[in-house]
Symmetry: C2
Subunit: 342 residues, 2 copies
């Protein structure tokens, strides 16, 4: 089985975005605020948006199942207040749930959280609970910078984040550390902000001792871990300067990197530097980079090809990256698959 | 010859830091502000600070000459106003000049600029002129985020930076894009802010068309280009989505990456992905990562070892990385060396 642990519903029917535009326009004008019940999207519209896009490409490329969360750049936690984020999160999470109900063999949901800058992360718990208990979410996306590129929240090791971690541990689900749109002109969303956030999160986790407090917590750093694997010597050396244990102990019992690295040399480095048990197959398809690489004739984000072509991986390594590790890191996914007889 | 294009005076005699502390303490209290003439450091003190540190390691490792600029984390452009940055820059640049005079075979200066958040970059021109014309600087360090981790300046492609680029082109000197200390708790200075800034700068340059306006401008992205080479497929793909030319044309006629990547797999990726003509040997020694790698028994930042060990490089490639490219990218360095008969 091939499990893609990082997909977003980037192709949702246009009515979703139209609703969001009405919501954003109504900020500060409660009488104009649309109700969530006003969003009307039929099952057929959802089917079409998936069959023509993600499912088509999954079939072409050979992926069986995608862990599917709301469009990352549309989370836009910096817009509005908690109420705005809360209504928007609920709608987006419902959409991914519906996809998973319509295509139970191919999609399983992960949830976004109703984060808002300056608002206590504990306010996200009710939606987290609903997503897991009612929508079947097997993971959440946690935004380390709800301000959208201004980085006004404390580091992920700060105690204000602990209520979320406690709930993740209670449910035995991981979080993917994933920012949203940048509203800072310095940072291109998918070319700088995403990658910087990944790098930043790794370094915050090195500086802190979060996993001493949460030995069962599992965090996924997407986009191949940002810059961290490329600079693994720097990070090993900085951990050493800070008097921390070796990264194998300090980080790699709890932290996983996905394979959203869009060329062969990057995947080769990732699989050389990071233990195979800490690597999760992912493509983030259909996402930031949708074109065909003129150097290969294949889609940049067809990351399965790079993993298949990686000379250093054994068949057992590939099985771990493509399926085994995901079943371990997302136990609720494993349970759902077993219930399906898979 | 082996030229290290990225060294900082991290071991300056303590009187320099003591002066800085007095300066910072006197902000808002002009009568307490120390004069630059109050800093007293003897040639012997400078000799000792260099001989015991950088020069000792250069001899042990085999580097002949270092392009030497003020300590990056101490630039701290976010502290005080233009006057504060101006006095501090002048002192620090003078120190590197003195090092180069005392060790003309081993050090040549690069300058920091008196940047200050929210202040027109054009105000840096007088110190840039002084550094080149009077101190012999062969390059400058340009901070894309003088706020120290709040990213309040416009991207490097913004016209407000143009006066600096005009002067760089006039003098035919490159700039290394290098941030300073982070005062944002989210970003560890050398583990997140430095690497993020490198990645951010690359993406800003991809988004813009700076080199259409400045075809002769040369920028060096330190620390192996941040995350960019590891994610080169992403950057090639994003350039394609933005309708830009291939990166070979759009970026690599003007942008160079140094080799401050502190493990073999990182250097192997860099040399595989980035054309050899765009790679400059550097160690940033004595810098962020001062320890010995338990996996190799050698200093993490002894990057010469990785370049020597890189299986894919020919002797000619190594000559370019270690010397040839530096002579081309820093023509004033080349001229100075030729004057010395080297």
């Amino acid at each position: 089985m091939i499990i893609d642990c990082h997909g977003h519903y980037t192709t949702a029917p246009p009515a979703l975005e139209a609703w969001r535009k009405r919501q954003v326009a109504a900020i500060g004008n409660p009488s104009a605020m649309p109700r969530t019940s006003e969003l009307k999207i039929s099952d057929d519209e959802i089917r079409e948006s998936i069959e023509r896009n993600q499912l088509r490409l999954m079939r072409e490329r050979g992926a069986d199942l995608t862990i599917f969360s709301p469009r990352a750049s549309f989370m836009a936690h910096h817009i509005g207040d908690f109420e705005v984020s809360s209504a928007w999160s609920a709608l987006c999470n419902d959409m991914c749930h519906r996809v998973s109900q319509l295509f139970p063999q191919h999609f399983i949901p992960a949830a976004m959280l109703p984060q808002s800058p300056g608002v206590d992360p504990a306010t996200c718990i009710p939606e987290l609970v609903r997503s897991v208990e009612q929508l079947g979410a097997v993971a959440v996306n946690l935004n380390p910078d709800p301000s959208g590129g201004h980085w006004t929240s404390p580091p992920l090791t700060d105690r204000s984040w602990y209520p979320i971690y406690e709930k993740l541990v209670e449910y035995d689900i991981p979080a993917m550390v994933h920012v949203s749109t940048s509203c800072n002109a310095c940072f291109h969303t998918t070319g700088a902000h995403y990658i910087n956030a990944d790098t930043t999160a790794v370094m915050q986790l090195i500086q802190g001792d979060l996993f001493r407090d949460f030995p069962q917590l599992r965090l996924i750093i997407p986009h191949g871990g940002g810059a961290a694997p490329y600079h693994w010597g720097r990070y090993r050396g900085l951990a050493q300067e800070l008097g921390k244990p070796l990264l194998a102990e300090h980080l790699l019992r709890n932290v996983y990197f996905d394979t959203c690295v869009y060329h062969q040399p990057g995947i080769d480095l990732l699989t050389e530097v990071i233990p195979v048990d800490n690597i999760l197959f992912a493509s983030e398809m259909i996402g930031a980079v949708r074109g065909i690489d003129p150097e290969t004739g294949h889609y940049y984000d067809d990351t399965l090809r790079y993993i298949q072509a990686s000379a250093s991986l054994t068949a057992q390594d590939r099985q771990k990256i493509l399926e085994g590790n995901a079943r371990r890191v997302f136990p609720r996914l494993d349970a759902a698959l077993k219930q399906q007889g898979r």
